[in-house]
Structures are given as structure tokens and as C-alpha cells.
């Protein structure tokens, strides 16, 4: 039996990103009225796990850290087809940066015990640090392959994956247990089904707090986060229209020059 853990995150709905503002005084994000959804790349991670479950004797456990409302995205993963869910939820976990998040998730994975493969989305749509996967592997002292776009060989002790590079990919052999962070190109996540939602009624979501993980308070949440955000600003984007005059050739030349100056081409 292959034990797969998928780490997922509840993020403010990217479709309503324009509603997320920065508080000018506290320099933190105000997310009022923006619903939490499953991080889009974590859907790819879920899909990767579920496809393996269809091919192998595998069990998929979904793990998340977040506020109680994050329970709904764990439920969503169960409806997609995961077997069991664990939500790490405690006020002490709040305000965690990537490092403290990875540490807490690692403690969760250790407590789960049986794990061969850990999937993460390559990045979250809100933080976008791409750090949690590799840091999680570091805390667990296991290998990591990042930006995985295809699993080429699987089933044995060594897996071969295609990991994206800027202008190509590299084939990486990884010994299990290992962490894989997946890209959008890896698959097309399945949509929720009504029967999947009904089946999720019978699936369990376990909630663990700081006492369950047996970790010092200073190592989790804001207290365990070495990152300091010194400033946050919003960028203004505005549209500008300009009519380019001249002959056809002149217009083309000026357009190309302007696009090049703007860094578009």
C-alpha cells in the first residue's frame, strides 16, 4: 500500500483578488468578505495523488494547516476522492510564514506516520513563495523534487519525474519517501461530483492542535516565523491608449519599438 499525503492550503479566492487590500497601518492583508478556496495548484497535487490511487494500491490523506474555515477545503478534497483528512488548527499556528508552516506540516506528517509520497502544489496563489514544499522535505529529512510536471516512472522504490526548468525540463530519479511539488501542467484536476460529495459524508476529518503535535509554541505560528515583512504596497495598474500615426511601415516599427521599451517583447 502506497501512502500518499497531499498538503493543501486555503487561500483567498483568486477570482476575487481585487477585494484583498493592504491595511495601511498594520501592513497586513485585509481579507474581509473574500471566501477561502482550495489553492489552485493544490488541486493539481490532489489530482496527481488520485490518479496514482486509480493505478496503484494507494491511500490518499489530505493535510492542511489553517483556521477552522479551512475545514471546508479539506472536505472538498475528500469529495474529490481523498480517503481521510487532517486539519492542523490552533490559534498558536496563526501568522506562520513558509518556514513555520513547513515545520508544522512536517510535524503533522510525522504524526500521521505512514507516508511514502508527499504532494504539494508548487506555490500558493496568495504567498507564492514556493518554499513550503522544499522546507517540508528538509524538516522530514527526505528528498524533494520541485516543479514536477510528469511522473515518468512510479511504483517502485525509485521514481523518475520530469521537473520543469525555464527552457526545458530535467529527469530526476528520486528515492521514496519524497516530497514532490507539482505544476499546473501536470494534469487537469477533476471537477467535484455530486456522488463524491455524498461519499465524503462518511470520511473522517481529524483536527490536531498544538498539544497534539507536541511542539513548542515558539516554533510555530508568528512566533516561529523568522520572516519579517518590513513593508507591503499595492501596485497601481492603469490603462493607457495611444494612437500611433504614420505609414503602415512606420506604425509597425513604432509599435514594435514601444512594445520593446515596455518590456512586453
Amino acid at each position: 500500500m502506497l501512502n500518499i499525503v497531499v498538503c493543501v492550503k486555503a487561500v483567498p479566492d483568486p477570482k476575487e483578488a481585487d477585494k484583498i487590500k493592504i491595511d495601511p497601518v498594520t501592513r497586513t492583508l485585509t481579507r474581509c468578505d473574500v471566501p477561502l478556496v482550495l489553492n489552485p495548484l493544490d488541486k493539481n497535487a490532489m489530482e496527481a495523488a488520485l490518479q496514482l490511487k486509480e493505478l496503484l494500491d494507494a491511500r490518499v490523506l489530505v493535510l492542511s494547516m489553517g483556521p477552522p474555515e479551512a475545514g471546508k477545503i479539506v472536505k472538498e478534497c475528500l469529495a474529490m476522492g481523498a480517503d481521510q483528512g487532517v486539519l492542523l488548527c490552533d490559534r498558536a499556528f496563526a501568522g506562520a510564514d513558509a518556514y513555520a508552516t513547513a515545520y508544522t506540516l512536517a510535524k503533522g506528517v510525522e504524526k500521521i506516520g505512514a507516508y511514502d509520497v508527499v504532494f504539494c502544489g508548487m506555490a500558493s496563489s496568495d504567498g507564492s513563495t514556493e518554499l513550503v514544499g522544499p522546507e517540508l522535505a528538509t524538516f522530514l529529512k527526505i528528498p524533494v523534487a520541485t516543479m514536477v510536471q510528469e511522473i515518468v516512472e512510479f511504483g517502485g522504490e525509485w521514481w523518475k519525474v520530469k521537473a520543469a526548468l525555464e527552457n526545458g525540463y530535467r529527469l530526476v530519479r528520486v528515492k521514496l519517501p519524497a516530497v514532490f511539488t507539482v505544476t499546473r501542467e501536470m494534469n487537469t484536476p477533476r471537477t467535484l461530483s455530486f456522488s463524491g460529495i455524498v461519499k465524503a459524508r462518511r470520511k473522517e476529518i481529524t483536527q490536531w492542535g498544538i498539544s497534539d503535535l507536541d511542539v513548542p509554541e515558539a516554533s510555530v505560528g508568528l512566533k516561529g516565523s523568522p520572516t519579517t515583512v518590513s513593508d507591503m504596497t499595492t501596485t497601481d495598474s492603469k490603462r493607457e491608449a495611444e494612437i500611433i500615426a504614420g505609414t503602415r511601415e512606420e506604425k509597425a516599427e513604432r509599435l514594435v519599438r514601444k512594445l520593446a521599451e515596455a518590456g512586453v517583447i
Partner: protein
């Protein structure tokens, strides 16, 4: 205290239905609009997404999720394509009489296929001489084979024509209402399967809106159905047909109306925020805000009526639900027509251009009113309840 919130599971149903509608239904719309024909890929997708299984009990291959879940699904599908929501709502309308009145054999025979979309259902009541005046229909049946020894098996012979039947040319499991030739006050319902000798779809209607949802005529010419296909008790067919229409048909139209209304409001908001006049978006103008506010008030009021009715139906109070759905049907379909007009108005000249979805919404809205009983008929039903 009354809890007006949806459960986490109901929110997931909504999310699932929305994802389905946006990814599997939306791509089929241009073809449906252009040809007016049913898009087979969309029908197949409805089956694969278990959309027909929602109200079918689990023991017959369905999901047994009831009417709030069905309303959620219809609202979300209708938000993307009212034509598809209409098709879906009538598939459930066709399923309902078998669930509520079918014998164990009939349920086992038809419901599993209807749940997967392998079979497609409808109900045939309306005729040129009677829709809301249901007794005005002339389609008639007589007993077949009882007296005449030449017939191998006993059953019924149906003759007549039905019109304005949604899913007429795609349905293969049809609940047909007919009157007894010898006793015009006695009506019975029969399950007629596609391919039955003497039965064929006739004229295809070319509707102004809900294009891609098939509406047409059904012709019965000495159509022989075996006695096993009698649905419910002989002579009690009006109850079979009317209970399905009252609960499921009206409720389905409410889902279509809410979905359309939501689409109108979303399109109007988007356009109002993008369209610049007098140096700022028209959403800053109070006259536009008035319209948006009215659309929102009507939408939310309609939702309250609709989900209360659906919840009442889920609690097994079908009769009360039927009256509540009459109110919801009147309110939501009228409101959706108003909302479509306002959405078009907010679009100004663009509201006349086919590139803008609001033109489709306006045409679709026109079909909401008469379907499953006009607003005037709803008032008759509502008043009957008030006076009783």
C-alpha cells in the same frame, strides 16, 4: 431561530454544479444558439455529472439528494445556460411520476437508466386544446386486448397529439396523460417508450429563446402500450401529472429563473463597472445603481421563496410545497424577465448586439413565463390556496 445558511455540503453541491456548468455546458452554447438543436455533448455531460440522479432514490441508482440540492444545481446550470437548465428540469419532471407513482417493477426498469442519462424522460400533458386547462386535452386511450382474443397481450391504445413538450425529440421514457375514450372524466398516465409502434415525435418548435432546448410535438396513432406501462392507478392520471408539475415542474422553472436572474445581474454589474461615460464608470450613476439594487432585491427575495418551497418539499410536505412553488414561480419568472430587461437597458446599444450575452438572456426570459403555467395561472393557483 431560522437558519438561512446553506450547509457545507450544499455549498459543495453549488461549487460542483458551477464548475460543471462553466466547463461542460458553456462550450456548447454557441452551437445551441446557432442551430436551435440539442447539443448531444451537453446531454452526455449532464449524465456524466449525475445531474439527472439528484432526485432519484439511492436504491434505484440515484443520489437521493432531494429538492434543495436540485434547485442549487438548476440555479447554477441556469446561470450559464437557461436552455440546458430547462432541459435538465424537465428530465427531472419526467422522472418524478415514476419515483412517486411507479410500481416496483417500473422503478427498477426505468430509474437506473434515467439516473445515468442512458434514458431521457419527459412528461406529456399539454395539447393544442388544453395545457393549464388540463381536462381540455383530447388525447384518449382505450383498452386493448381485453375483449378481443386476437391480441396476444392486453394493454391500451393511445391516440392523440401533444404539443409544446420539452425534450420531445430526445426523450425515450415519456409519461403521457390521456383520457378514457369511454369516460372523458377519467384520465390515466402511461409510460411510453421511444420506438413504440404508433408513437413518433412530430413538429420541432423554433423558440425565440432557450435555443438548444428541444420543444415539440408528440404524435400517437394507435400507439399500443402494454398494461405494465400504466403509471399509477387507472383513472387517477390527473393526480400523477399534476403532482409532478406542481412540485417538480414549477420548482424547476424557479431554478431556471434564479439562474437567469443571477446571470443578468452579473453581466449588468460587469458592464456597468467597465463602461465609462462622463469620465467614470456608469456604475457610479444613481440611475444605474437603482436598477442594480432592484435586480438584487428581487433575486434575493426570489431565493427566499424558492428555497423555502424546496425545503418544504424535502420535508415531505408536497401539497404545501406545490403552493409555495406557485408563488415562487410567479415571482422569480416575472423578476427574471424584469432583470433581463434591465440588464439589456444598462448595456445601452450594446444590449442589442448578439455578442453580448444579455441579448440571449432577454430572449430566454421570454420563455420562462409560459413554461409550466403562466403567471396568470400561478395567481389562480395561489388564490385558490388563499380562499380554501
Amino acid at each position: 431561530m431560522i437558519d438561512f445558511t446553506f450547509t457545507e455540503e450544499q455549498e459543495l453541491f453549488r461549487q460542483a454544479a458551477r464548475e460543471f456548468a462553466e466547463t461542460r455546458v458553456a462550450p456548447g452554447i454557441p452551437e445551441m444558439e446557432e442551430t436551435g438543436r440539442v447539443n448531444n455533448a451537453v446531454v452526455k455531460a449532464l449524465g456524466e455529472a449525475e445531474m439527472m440522479a439528484i432526485t432519484i432514490p439511492e436504491e434505484y441508482g440515484g443520489l437521493g439528494l432531494g429538492y434543495v440540492a436540485r434547485l442549487i444545481a438548476l440555479e447554477e446550470v441556469g446561470r450559464v445556460s437557461v436552455a440546458t437548465a430547462m432541459m435538465l428540469q424537465v428530465l427531472a419532471l419526467g422522472i418524478e411520476p415514476i419515483v412517486s407513482f411507479g410500481s416496483e417493477e417500473q422503478k427498477k426498469k426505468y430509474l437506473p437508466g434515467l439516473a445515468t442519462g442512458e434514458r431521457l424522460a419527459t412528461v406529456a400533458v399539454t395539447e393544442p386544446t388544453g395545457g393549464s386547462d388540463v381536462k381540455g386535452g383530447r388525447t384518449a386511450y382505450k383498452k386493448d386486448g381485453d375483449a378481443a382474443s386476437s391480441h396476444v397481450r392486453s394493454g391500451y391504445i393511445i391516440n392523440g397529439r401533444k404539443c409544446f413538450i420539452t425534450n420531445s425529440h430526445i426523450a425515450d421514457t415519456i409519461t403521457v396523460l390521456a383520457k378514457d375514450e369511454e369516460n372523458p372524466d377519467a384520465f390515466s398516465t402511461f409510460i411510453v417508450e421511444g420506438g413504440t409502434e404508433g408513437f413518433k415525435p412530430g413538429h420541432r418548435e423554433n423558440k425565440v429563446g432557450m435555443r438548444g432546448c428541444n420543444t415539440g410535438e408528440l404524435i400517437f396513432e394507435n400507439c399500443r402500450v402494454p398494461k405494465e406501462n400504466l403509471l399509477g392507478k387507472e383513472g387517477k392520471g390527473l393526480g400523477v401529472a399534476l403532482s409532478a408539475i406542481g412540485g417538480v415542474g414549477r420548482g424547476g422553472m424557479v431554478g431556471c429563473a434564479l439562474g437567469l436572474h443571477t446571470a443578468c445581474l452579473e453581466a449588468a454589474v460587469k458592464f456597468a463597472q467597465e463602461r465609462i461615460l462622463y469620465g467614470r464608470p456608469i456604475s457610479k450613476l444613481q440611475t444605474i445603481q437603482n436598477k442594480l439594487a432592484e435586480m438584487k432585491i428581487d433575486l434575493e427575495a426570489g431565493r427566499l421563496l424558492a428555497y423555502r418551497a424546496a425545503s418544504t418539499q424535502d420535508q415531505g410536505q408536497g401539497r404545501q410545497a406545490s403552493n409555495e412553488f406557485a408563488m415562487a414561480k410567479h415571482f422569480t419568472t416575472e423578476a427574471a424577465q424584469k432583470a433581463a430587461k434591465m440588464a439589456v437597458d444598462i448595456h445601452g446599444g450594446y444590449g442589442c448586439m448578439e455578442e453580448y450575452a444579455v441579448t440571449r438572456y432577454w430572449r430566454d426570459a421570454a420563455v420562462l413565463g409560459p413554461s409550466a403555467g403562466t403567471s396568470d395561472i400561478m395567481k389562480v393557483i395561489i388564490a385558490r390556496g388563499v380562499l380554501s
